[in-house]
Amino acid sequence: MRIAVVDLGVGNLRSVKQAVSTVAPNADVVLTSDANTLLESDKIVLPGQGAVGTWFSELQSRGLEDAIKTCLDQKPLLGICVGMQALFDYCEEDGGRQGLGLFKGSVRHFSNFHQVVEASENPPLPRLKIPQMGWNQVFQLRDHPLWNGIEDDAYFYFVHSFCANTAPDSDLGVVYGGADYGHKFIAAVGRDNVFAVQFHPEKSHDNGLRLLKNFTEWNGQAA
């Protein structure tokens, strides 16, 4: 089995590759920015850190957008952090831009969601440190093979300033997990052969390694 970790030159790619190799010692885990390699691989890990604008321009300059879209249709794919955010309709960061549109909803700065919530609630929420940096609990909203062996409310490691929420007309069936930082936001989202998480499984110790192991064993079916 070949698992391709998409290399856009940003973020802690080595950590992702290392963690996947550890849980799947017999798999051929490659770090690649070659479209053909992606199309020939069995599974895809789509990581991301930093700014979403940089992420998209790297995707385009490497000519990977079409290959990623094909993989999103066909292969088990795990999005991580910005690799999850990019799958939504709209990302507010860097002046705002369209995402890949696999999921309805938008990715906004914590403080923007915070203002909306704060205005409607009394008393005001406590001051939020941004980025959210650290271990937060993920509540599971529905079963998924990638949650196998992971308890509800398990801790995962998050580092991000922008977070995803659904649009009013969204299909809530795609939301597999949430977390709470000042307000609730999407921690895990999925559809068919795609599963994506806001947290960093590669840095989330035993729970994260279990999720990655589940991914390497996943047949790409949601149920």
Binding site: G11, L13, R14, Q18, R127, G134, W135, N136, V159, K203
Partner: protein
């Protein structure tokens, strides 16, 4: 659900060994960094920080090797600092397996570097380390306390106010502040809680308290009285006085949210 407060064992690395100093001098050997990091990973540390405390050009290769070895065995965040001068240094450490890069002296000489680095790699991986020491200044005949920052592993005084500096670094895109009290470092007398509180109140990014932990109550104080988001300690863990697990239990018993 509040974010769990983090406990971060710190490995001061000199020439490939973990060492521990008192007030930045007087070094004692504490073992092989990979073995030490694995031990803390098993004990449930939330993160590990490596500081290359001498950071001469000769040591640079050593720290990259150490980061690579640790990153292949430890699946929690790794912060690495010491001798980061250029974007290429940040890139090199990230490629070696670091998740966050701590910058100290370079930020003081070239504050724009923090803008560049956070713009390029994202605020989430740029930590500004501040080494602060209590000093005094005179105004209209009265003496006032303040905290001044020092660079070069605590050897050079800068005249810069630590609290104002933290605010500026947050504005420049730092994702986190690693705040070390040089007065406290290695003394086991506890964090400088006034300094910690002054900085945590002034900035809207996470602050790691560092310098002076001698017992588990000091960790609790760092969070409760200092307002820190994470607490860093070295010698209480290195020499086997306490495990990370014991530290977390003490924090939980004091009513602090921790990942157990």
């Amino acid at each position: 659900m509040p974010l769990a407060k983090r406990i971060i064992p710190c490995l001061d690395v000199d020439n490939g060994r973990v060492v521990k100093g008192v007030n930045f001098v007087g070094i004692r050997d504490a073992g092989d960094p990979v073995e030490v990091a694995k031990r803390y990973n098993e004990q449930g540390a939330d993160e590990i920080t490596f500081l290359d405390i001498t950071a001469t050009s000769d040591d640079r290769g050593t720290i990259l090797e150490v980061v690579e070895q640790v990153a292949s065995e430890v699946f929690i965040p790794l912060t690495v600092g010491g001798g980061v001068r250029e974007l290429a240094d940040v890139r090199g450490l990230l490629n070696a397996g670091a998740d966050k890069i701590s910058v100290n002296s370079t930020a003081v000489f070239k504050p724009e570097f923090i803008k560049e680095a956070s713009g390029h790699f994202g605020s989430q991986c740029i930590v500004v380390a501040i080494d602060a020491k209590q000093t005094h200044f005179f105004e209209k005949g009265d003496c006032y306390d303040r905290w001044e920052i020092f660079t070069h592993g605590g050897r050079k005084q800068t005249g810069i106010d630590a609290v104002e500096w933290a605010v500026k670094m947050a504005e420049y895109g730092a994702g986190e502040i690693l705040l070390t009290s040089m007065d406290g470092d290695g003394t086991k007398a506890g964090y400088d809680l006034k300094l910690t509180k002054a900085v945590t109140d002034a900035v809207n990014i996470p602050v790691i308290a560092s310098g002076g932990v001698g017992n588990l109550n000091h960790l609790v104080d760092g969070v409760k009285a200092g307002g820190a988001d994470a607490v860093l300690a070295a010698s209480i863990f290195h020499f086997g006085e306490y495990t990370v697990q014991q530290a977390k239990e003490a924090m939980r018993d004091a009513g602090i949210e921790v990942r157990l």
